[in-house]
């Protein structure tokens, strides 16, 4: 029985986290204690090396995901032993790649950010890898129980990562808000899961799907009301996690108060994993003809959610004074575009799913890059957060401004960047599904969004800081630079060769 290779993406992150935890705990702190104080954290002052270790572990996870994907999950029949709990299929491997990539970006960014802003604590990195492991499990789970365990593994680590800066009222407040709403959402999902179990007798998604498909047949004993309530509660819980309007209230606060690398992870990996499991849940358990129909199923609900999410988020994002908060609203808006792709699965399941997968990949590299560029533009005591902070960066530090511009253009969806093709595939899938008005609304929203992305670029290149105002100086960190170079490379590479990720996504779905 050879499960080691096909499961290696999970094993590497799992054991990597434990190894890093030991390395952190038994090392010697590199900072000198102030008089009368004691350095209690053995990882203090060692962010650089720990970040490098975490990045290596997570990149190894990403590479192994691709390796297993290339070998083909079908080549490892042992994986069937894990079903229905863990469905490690092509989609899960693709998502695992995206999640590990997002985690690796976060590790590199944190390696520069934490020491620069004097929150040089080593436990961030084991937590980060554990959160990524939770996200991988969540996106691959084929059973409500695994879903719950994966979700909580991811969320608990993220709560701690937000509250890392214990002395800051903003960070603790962000952690508190996210914790309260996150556990409330988890409780809603759990009750929804209990109702689904009660109605169908199954906790595995496929079993639920078979029972749901039997609704309406004369011999069916499934209580349709309970199923509907269970689905609703699960949708609400996951809408919290992907921060769809009107369940987004926590997002701007949590994103703004958290240390920026944690914000990156929340925007990138948490959202990707939540969308992955949302897609799996809807298509596996509620993928029968009736549940996917416009008249009696979930697509109109998601379509409404998509419209509200895009529109509200884009309108509010334009009014923000803080770039970090603007990026938070932008990530909410992007959740709206992904929801369009999910709705498109109702008539063209393969193209719809592939567009969502590609979009999540392009969104991950662009968002991680944008937050990374924001981190790069700040330094100790002068974290760049507002438009004013960024004024004149383009003249003083052209390289930093150039990469920031690239990521913003990608988020706005300009060719030839990755973001353009992400949006293109989503809208194409929507048109294939005859969702014309949804496509039009999505396009209009993209135009509105371009306004606030361009505003950052205008700030950087065409404005000078007000006399006497604090001037942001970019920090120097090889790790942050490395992350930005990698993200910029991927943004351009996907933008210039968009067929490759699309072919990979399609191949994951068709098994080819």
């Amino acid at each position: 029985m050879n499960l080691l290779f096909p499961l290696s993406p999970l094993l590497v992150t799992g054991f990597g986290a434990l190894l890093l935890m030991l390395t952190e705990a038994f090392g010697t702190p590199r900072v000198r204690a102030a008089a009368g104080e004691e350095v209690v954290d053995a990882g203090a002052g060692r962010s650089g090396e720990l970040a490098l270790g975490a990045a290596v572990v997570l990149l190894a996870g990403a590479v192994l995901s691709v390796a297993v994907w290339l070998a083909g999950p079908a080549a490892s029949p042992e994986l069937k032993l894990l079903e229905p709990w863990l469905v490690f299929d092509g989609v899960a491997l693709f998502m695992s790649f995206v999640l590990c990539l997002g985690g690796a970006f976060t590790a590199l960014l944190a390696g520069g950010y934490l020491p620069e802003h004097q929150i040089d604590r080593g436990e961030f990195f084991p937590l980060l890898i554990l959160a990524t492991l939770g996200a991988q499990v969540l996106s691959a789970s084929g059973d409500l129980l695994m879903l719950f365990v994966g979700l909580e593994t991811m969320s608990l680590a993220v709560y701690a990562m937000i509250g890392l800066r214990r002395g800051s009222a903003r960070a603790v407040e962000a952690a508190l808000k996210y914790f309260l709403l996150g556990s409330f959402a988890a409780a809603l999902m759990l009750f929804g899961g209990a109702l689904l179990y009660g109605a169908t007798g199954h906790t595995d998604l496929r079993g639920i799907g078979q029972a749901v498909a039997s609704i309406g047949q004369p011999e069916s004993t499934v209580n349709a009301g309970l199923v509907l309530l269970g689905l609703t509660l699960n949708l609400v819980g996951l809408a919290f996690k992907v921060s769809a309007v009107p369940f987004h209230m926590w997002t701007p606060d949590a994103y703004e108060g958290a240390p920026t690398p944690t914000t990156t992870f929340m925007a990138v990996a948490v959202k990707t994993a939540a969308f992955a499991i949302l897609m799996r849940l809807l298509l596996t358990s509620f993928g029968d003809e009736r549940a996917m129909s416009w008249g009696a199923g979930w697509p109109p609900v998601l379509a409404l959610l998509a419209i509200v999410t895009m529109t509200v988020a884009n309108l509010i994002a334009g009014r923000q004074e803080s770039v970090k908060r603007m990026l938070a609203y932008s990530s909410i808006a992007h959740a709206g575009y992904v929801l369009i792709g999910l709705v498109a699965t109702m008539r063209s399941p393969i193209e719809g799913q592939a567009s969502v997968m590609v979009y999540l990949l392009t969104y991950t590299v662009s968002t991680a890059g944008a937050f990374g560029a924001l981190i790069l533009c700040g330094s100790r005591g002068a974290e760049a957060v507002s438009y004013d902070d960024l004024a004149g960066i383009g003249r003083r530090h052209p390289a930093a401004a150039l990469v920031f511009t690239l990521f913003l253009l990608s988020l706005a969806g300009m060719p030839p960047t990755a973001g353009f093709f992400g949006k293109l595939y989503i809208f194409r899938a929507a048109i294939d599904s005859e969702l014309y008005w949804l496509t039009v609304l999505g396009l209009l929203n993209s135009l509105v969004a371009a306004y606030y992305y361009l505003r950052v670029i205008v700030s950087m290149y065409f404005r000078e800081p007000a006399p006497g105002a604090p001037v942001a100086t970019p920090m120097r960190s090889g790790l942050v630079t490395g992350a930005l170079v990698l993200a910029a490379f991927l943004v351009l590479a996907i933008g210039l060769a968009p067929a490759t990720p699309l072919a990979m996504a399609l191949g994951s779905l068709t098994g080819g």
């Binding site: 719950f148 759990l190 899961g193």
Partner: protein, 105 residues
Amino acid sequence: MSLLGNVLEHYVMLAGLIFAIGAVGFLIRRNVLVQLMCIELMLNAVNLALVGYNRVHVGDMTGHLFAFFVIAVAAAELAVGLAIVIAFYRLKSSVQSDEADALRH
């Protein structure tokens, strides 16, 4: 069977009621500790529903098993939550969530 059916209905209704009390309490109370207790109430309602439903879905113990996982994870969740509440209390000398207003715009 009809007797069991009725009993099950009662259990599920009780679970729903406890869940609703927890959810409403979470939404209207402003004391973070009370909110945490309300979340616990909701999770315990889930356990009750799971165990109750296991009576009709005989053959395996999925419901019971699920309830154990919920208990274990809820404990871990509360540990992180209380740590955050303590950090919050140290900064604000209060456990009212209204005090969390630094990030409102």
